[in-house]
Subunit: 186 residues, 2 copies
Amino acid sequence: MSIAHHRRKQPELVRQQLLEVAARLSLEQGAAGVTLDAVSHAAGVSKGGLLHHFPNKMALLDGLFDDLTGKLDRMIAEEMRNDPVAHGRFTRAYLSCVFALQEDADAQGWQVLTIALLSEPQLRARWRLWVADHADAFVGTDSSAACLLARFAADGLWLADLLKSHDVDPPARQAMRSHLIALSLQ
Amino acid sequence: MSIAHHRRKQPELVRQQLLEVAARLSLEQGAAGVTLDAVSHAAGVSKGGLLHHFPNKMALLDGLFDDLTGKLDRMIAEEMRNDPVAHGRFTRAYLSCVFALQEDADAQGWQVLTIALLSEPQLRARWRLWVADHADAFVGTDSSAACLLARFAADGLWLADLLKSHDVDPPARQAMRSHLIALSLQ
DNA sequence: CATAAGATACCGTCTGGACGGTTTGTCAAG
DNA sequence: CTTGACAAACCGTCCAGACGGTATCTTATG
């Protein structure tokens, strides 16, 4: 009898909403705040409704993972298309994405994902796979020590942002980025 | 009637054991695996026994935090004492510790701490404090962009080790370290 | 086009188990 | 004999997931 029961059905939108809410909740309340009850309620859907879209909690986290790595892959592909230099091309695209992500609307999603990644061994394994796939794919152009270092530094900055442990002002950020791009070309 | 009741009392040892086990458990089973039941059982102590040493779960995590940051502080101080160059001295000490930590017995502890840090807003705050304190203390010598970058890169490598997402062989590791030390001197 | 017959998208309740924490009791050391 | 170091049973809460139902959508058929 409730609203959602009678409103126009929009499964894809509800699904998206659930993922979005899951990301937001973990930001605000920590990973422990991501409960089926909380997510479904905040998304304006019953728990049964949530479990219809995602048969269990892991599936929800997997959905988040797919969603975000999908976007990341597309962003990276886009960046790589605009880069004429082969050597370090993937690394530079990765850098661009990580630096862009700080102000992006998806930043929240990435943050929850990081937390979930570290917490859930299963998602850790999926991330490992993602990294291995890309390392394989770009072994010819991006396997140098310098490129690896540049990517690690980007990860470190990203981690600092996540923990809000350092405050890096925009000019310093830009300088850092230039430095890392130079590294990727070396 | 049980063993622990009759064995020679050794509270400090039990306390240490509990911290150690908590670290190990989260490594093997993820942060969710760190339950009072699991920790106490694996440490050969009852839950009541655990709660005697740590009045609640947060106190256990706090204990872990104190234990590890204490060790880190001592390691850093030790490294800094042996470094004649003032500029970037803290950064180099930090680098040494992070690189040393990979093979260290405490590595596990640090890994659980990272996970807990990301999961628990309260511990995030404590880490923020630690970073702020050290940034203040060494603002004269280690606040350059190059030093910050070097530390970020070390964090990134550490994260990669935690996630086991990249495999960096020892020579590459060494090269990376040299590079970062050079950065800290620049 | 109408409509029956599924298929899909939900709702709301219930349950079993886990988990953090309390309380009470017991033993041993000083 | 007091106190610290545990044990063991217990409690309230929360949570993942199951289940049975209802409403809307789609499709095929007459």
